[in-house]
Each structure stands twice: as structure tokens, then as C-alpha cells.
Amino acid sequence: MPSPADIGVISYAPIALLFVMAAVFAAVNIVASALFGPRVESVVKGTAYESGMDPFGSARKRFNVRFYVMAMTFLVFDVEIIFLYPWAVSFAQLEPRSDESLMFLARIGFFVGTSVIAYIYAWRKGVFRWD
């Protein structure tokens, strides 16, 4: 029986390898383009790329408050998802259609319901309106 430490190292090796490969790939690309790429400076080339349009205004301009509101909403709903994982894992182990499983379903239903209330509230508040 392998020791816990062995299992840990061995099982995570592919992931480590993945990280290493990703890093090397990125580094190699950057270095290669710096070494071998042709370098032609021009005004047009120095401007920011805005999907073919001529750029205007400063890059440091303020963002619309809607971005922040949206970001916050996303953050909150995103985190709520983590409660679904432990629930889902344990729900799968319950006997189907038993009282217990129904109770579990009701509980998560309540939880999702509160999230829906929050969603309706955000919608009424006009968070999702972009004008």
C-alpha cells in the first residue's frame, strides 16, 4: 500500500507537467517572436486596435457604473453556486423519491428561491438594463 505522500505526488504529476508545458510554451513563443519577427514601426501600427475603427478618446476614461454593478451581481451569483456542489454530491447518494430526498430537494429549492428573489430584485432595480 503506497503511503499518502506517494499518492499525493504521483497523482498530481500530470497537472504539474501541464503547468510546466504551458509556461514553456508561452515563454518560447514570446522569445521566438522577439528574436525572429520583423520589426517595422509606423504610426498606424502604434495605435490601439479597435476592430478596424479609428481609436478615439483616452484609454484611461471612466467605465460606466453598469460594469461595476454587473460585476458585483456576477460575483454574488457566482459564489452561490458553491452551495450547489456539496448538495449535488450528497443528493446523488440518497434513495430516489424517499422522504429524505424530497426534503433535500425542498431545502435547495428554498435556497434557489431566495436567489431568484435576489435576481428579480436586481432586474427590477434595472441592473440589467444597458441604456
Binding site: M103, I117, I120, Y121, R124, K125, G126, V127
Partner: protein, 545 residues
């Protein structure tokens, strides 16, 4: 285990919180209505929810449910929840007319179209309800997770209320300080919870109590547990504005809108004290015994010495620094903030004395304090000067001439805050000091009495300046706030500070239920709430050096 079986009674005990939750949802939706009349009705619904919660909390509370819920203080909610709801009703009133004043004015005059993103009345009151619901939830806390979540439910809404309560820069500065320092304190008690968990191996409050009792019966509570308790206490000191976590109070109370300051002076404080009572209850006070999980009867010998000493020093410093700080303030709100600090100091005496007498007196004092301090804040909210809040003693000089009712209510609340008979403050102090005296905390009582005498200096100034001093140039331009409700609230609270003492006996009896069921014989002998039964798992492996 405590899953299915105890969920029923516990849900029953949570009825008032559910009412408040529903109320908050309702209020936030109504607050977004396009009709100005509907929006104006928001405080009304808020009050309806609070009154309903008070009613429900009284009606649904039964001894059987309470004991079935297996809480450390099974009956605490029976007093604390109605108290929170009823004082909450009073706290709703001072904000009427102040929130969204500019926006609503612009909408009414047609300068601006209705924009759901710009109106905040619904949110404000919904947050208030959430915060009160959080404080109520604390009464039913059976484990540290619950405790933590309820505490956060109390705090997070108040951060927003401070920031949005009024549009001034001061409010935003107050919000910055309150939020960041609040986050720091949260981190502290959270780490304390982690250490307590490390020491006892359970998050269940009852389990922690058993584990601490077992440790105390042996070599004593280990260092992890002690450090955790102290960290948690200090973190919670932020909520009750106690030394060393009180520094934010004057700035935040000054910066926040006055009705928000009133809220801050009461709801988080109740929450902090409830949480502290529960936490300290796990370590136990002298004179209680319980049957530990292994069937052995364990007598408490009192709080662990370091914890008791920390509380003692903090109480003394809190009342002293609060009073000294208030002595020479020029801002009334800062004075009231320091006064709030000093009252926390008095109330900490109740924590030191412990269940039953100290905790009962503490909660009775909280009720008295809520009435008195709301009166003074509401009196301030009833006035304004060129659209600004009234905040300097100059503004209220000779107030009796133009605003006699408000001046008298300010004076009554001040006199009551000193604790002069027959005002409600006197009875609060009487009960508290008597409990401390009985338990032998004579030094603490003496210090508190001296402090009360010192506090008379600045409280009487609060009474004399509006009543006796000649009107000043500034006070001549003070006018009533657009809404009458803050003044009505001040009158209700002021008259209450005089009338409530008439029912002092009954209220004291009611508060005596708060710690009923704690301690002797109530423990959880042999039942399943100790998560892993008895055994070596209780003792931490972080043993003493």
C-alpha cells in the same frame, strides 16, 4: 443527530426572522415602485413587519420548543426578539423623510424621471430589517457557523446604510472606516472561531461547552481555546464598541446620517452582546454545573482567568475612555457616540457577572439603553439647519424657545442616560449594578458609579443647553425636519423613558427569562449533540509547552 428532529422546533423559533425576511423582500420591491405613494408607504410596511415579528416572537415561543432546540440559552430569544422588534419600530421612524429626500423631491417637481437605480428607500429599510433579523438569528445560534453568518447579516447591511444614509462626504468617510475596520474585526473573530474549533473539535455551541467543561475539569482550557476565546471576544468588541475596538465609533456616528447612527447604537450592540453571552456561556460562569457528555457532573469555576481579566479590563477602560472622551466634545453626535461606548462598558459588567443575574440585567439594560439613546438621536433627527443635520451644541442652545418638545425630549433622554431616578436609565443601572454587587464585583460597581457621576457632566450639558442657555445665532436658524415622524419618535421614546419605569418590575421579570435554562442540569447528558461522543478527540494536540 440534530438534523431532522430538531429542525422542526428550531424552525418554529425562527418564525420572527422569517417574517422579517419576508418583510424585507416586500419592502425592497415596494421601494422600487413607480408610484411615489407606494414608495412612501415603505416605512409603514417596515413597521408592519417589525410589529408582526414582535407578535410572532411572543406567540410562537414556547418552553417546549425552546428546550427542544438545544440552545445554550434556550429562552434568550423570548426577551431579545420582541425587544429588537419593538425598538426596531422606533428606529424606523427617525429615517422617514430623510432617506431619498433629494431624489424624491426632484421626482415630485418633475426635474427628474423616476430611476430605480437612484432610489434607495426600499433598500435602506430592507437592510434595516435584515440587520435586525440577523440580530434575532443570533439568539438561536447553535453552532459557530450560524453565529458567524448571523453576525455578518447584522453587519453587512449596516455598512451600506452608513454609506447611503446621506450623500455627504462625511458619510462616505464613515462608511470607509466602518467597513474596513469592521472587516478587520470580522477576520479577528473568525480566526478566534477557528482556534476554538481547533481546541474543541466541534462547531456546535453545546459541544464546545462540553469540551471546555471537560478541559476545565482536567488541566484547564488549553491555550488554543483561550486564545480563540480572547480573539473572538476582541473581534466582537467591535460590534459593542468596546476597548480596544471602539475607536471607530465617534467618527462613524458623526459621519453617518443621524437615524443610521441611532441604528448603529442599538442593533449591532444587541447582536454583539448576544454573541458574547453565547460565547462566554461555553466557558461558563461560576455557580453553574452541567452534566458533561461522559455523565460526569462538572461545576463551573467561573470564566477562565485570562478571559475574565480581559473582560474586566476592557469593561473598565471602555466606560472610562467613553466618558472621558465625551467630556469635551463639541459635536452632539460624537458625544452620543462616546456615551454609547461608555454604556457598553457598563453592560460588559453583566457579561462578567454572567448568567443568570448578569445576563438578565444586561438585556434589561439594553432595552433601557435602546429607548434612551433612540430618543436623543431622534430628537436630533427632528431638526435641521439649512438642510444640514444639527450637530453642534451651538445649534441646540435655547432650543426650548422654538422647539420646546424636542428640547424637552433631548433633556429627558440625557437625564435618563445619566441614570437619574425615576427615568428608565436608572432602573437599567440599578439592576446591573445590583447584580454585580451581589456577585461580589464591588470594585467594578464602584468604578461604574464614579463613571456615571462623571458622565453627568456632559449629559447635563445636553439637558441644560437646550433648556436653559439663551438661543444663539446658529440655533435661531434651526428648523423642524420636513417629516414629523422623527419628532414623534423622540416624544414616544422620551415619554417612554419616563413611563417604562412604571413597568420596571414586569420588564425585569421578562428579562429574567433570558437566561432561564442556562447551566445547571440543562446539559446534554449522553445525547447525540456532542459530535463524536466522548473520548480523546476533545483535547487538542497543541498541548502546553
Amino acid at each position: 443527530m440534530m438534523g431532522m428532529e430538531s429542525m422542526g422546533p428550531r424552525l418554529g423559533l425562527l418564525a420572527p426572522e422569517m417574517v422579517l425576511f419576508a418583510g424585507a423582500v416586500l419592502v425592497s420591491v415596494i421601494g422600487l415602485s413607480r408610484s411615489a405613494g407606494m414608495r412612501r408607504s415603505v416605512p409603514l410596511w417596515c413597521i408592519v413587519a417589525l410589529v408582526a415579528a414582535a407578535f410572532v416572537s411572543v406567540e410562537t415561543w414556547t418552553q417546549e420548543r425552546a428546550s427542544a432546540a438545544q440552545l445554550l440559552f434556550p429562552s434568550m430569544g423570548s426577551f431579545v426578539k420582541p425587544m429588537l422588534a419593538l425598538v426596531g419600530v422606533l428606529l424606523v421612524l427617525p429615517g422617514i423623510g430623510a432617506i431619498d429626500r433629494g431624489v424624491e423631491g426632484a421626482i415630485a417637481s418633475g426635474r427628474q424621471a423616476f430611476d430605480a437605480l437612484r432610489v434607495m428607500r426600499g433598500e435602506h429599510y430592507a437592510f434595516a430589517l435584515f440587520s435586525i433579523a440577523g440580530a434575532m438569528l443570533l439568539c438561536g445560534a447553535s453552532d459557530l457557523i450560524w453565529l458567524f453568518l448571523a453576525l455578518e447579516l447584522v453587519s453587512l447591511p449596516t455598512y451600506i446604510m452608513v454609506a447611503l444614509g446621506r450623500g455627504s462626504r462625511k458619510a462616505q468617510e464613515a462608511a470607509v472606516k466602518y467597513f474596513f475596520l469592521g472587516a478587520l474585526s470580522t477576520a479577528l473573530f473568525l480566526y478566534g472561531f477557528a482556534l476554538i474549533y481547533g481546541s474543541t473539535g466541534t462547531l456546535q455551541i453545546a459541544g464546545i461547552r462540553d469540551a471546555f467543561a471537560a478541559q476545565a475539569a482536567g488541566p484547564g482550557i488549553d491555550m488554543t481555546g483561550l486564545a480563540g476565546l480572547c480573539l473572538a471576544i476582541l473581534g466582537l468588541c467591535f460590534k459593542i464598541t468596546a476597548v480596544p475596538m471602539h475607536f471607530y465609533a465617534p467618527d462613524v456616528y458623526e459621519g453617518a446620517a443621524v437615524h443610521v447612527s441611532a441604528f448603529l447604537a442599538f442593533v449591532p450592540k444587541v447582536a454583539g452582546f448576544v454573541a458574547l453571552a453565547v460565547l462566554l456561556g461555553t466557558a461558563g460562569w461560576t455557580g453553574h454545573a452541567l452534566i458533561a457528555a461522559d455523565g460526569v457532573r462538572v461545576a463551573y469555576t467561573g470564566l477562565p482567568e485570562p478571559v475574565a481579566a480581559v473582560l474586566w479590563m476592557s469593561a473598565v477602560l471602555t466606560m472610562t475612555l467613553g466618558n472621558v472622551g465625551a467630556l469635551m466634545q463639541r459635536s452632539i453626535k460624537r458625544t452620543l457616540a462616546y456615551s454609547s461606548v461608555s454604556h457598553s462598558g457598563y453592560m460588559m459588567i453583566g457579561l462578567i457577572v454572567g448568567a443568570p443575574a448578569g445576563i438578565n440585567a444586561l438585556f434589561f439594560y439594553l432595552l433601557c439603553y435602546g429607548i434612551m439613546t433612540t430618543a436623543s438621536f431622534a430628537a436630533l433627527a427632528a431638526l435641521e439647519r439649512s438642510g444640514e443635520e444639527v450637530d453642534s451644541f451651538d445649534d441646540i442652545a435655547g432650543l426650548r424657545v422654538r422647539h420646546p418638545a424636542v428640547a424637552w425630549m433631548l433633556a429627558i433622554s440625557a437625564v435618563s442616560l445619566v441614570g437619574i431616578p425615576p427615568m428608565v436609565g436608572f432602573f437599567g443601572k440599578l439592576a446591573l449594578f445590583m447584580a454585580a454587587f451581589e456577585s461580589g464585583q464591588v470594585a467594578l460597581v464602584a468604578i461604574a458609579v464614579v463613571n456615571s457621576a462623571v458622565s453627568a457632566w456632559y449629559y447635563l450639558r445636553l439637558a441644560i443647553v437646550p433648556l436653559v442657555a439663551p438661543p444663539s445665532a446658529r440655533s435661531a436658524t434651526v428648523v423642524s425636519a420636513p417629516s414629523r415622524w422623527p419628532a414623534i419618535c423622540a416624544v414616544v421614546c422620551g415619554v417612554g423613558s419616563v413611563i417604562v419605569p412604571l413597568a420596571a418590575s414586569r420588564l425585569l421579570q421578562a428579562s429574567e427569562r433570558a437566561s432561564e435554562g442556562y447551566g445547571a442540569g440543562s446539559a446534554v447528558a449522553g445525547d447525540e449533540s456532542g459530535p463524536k461522543g466522548s473520548g480523546g478527540l476533545y483535547t487538542s494536540r497543541l498541548t502546553r509547552p
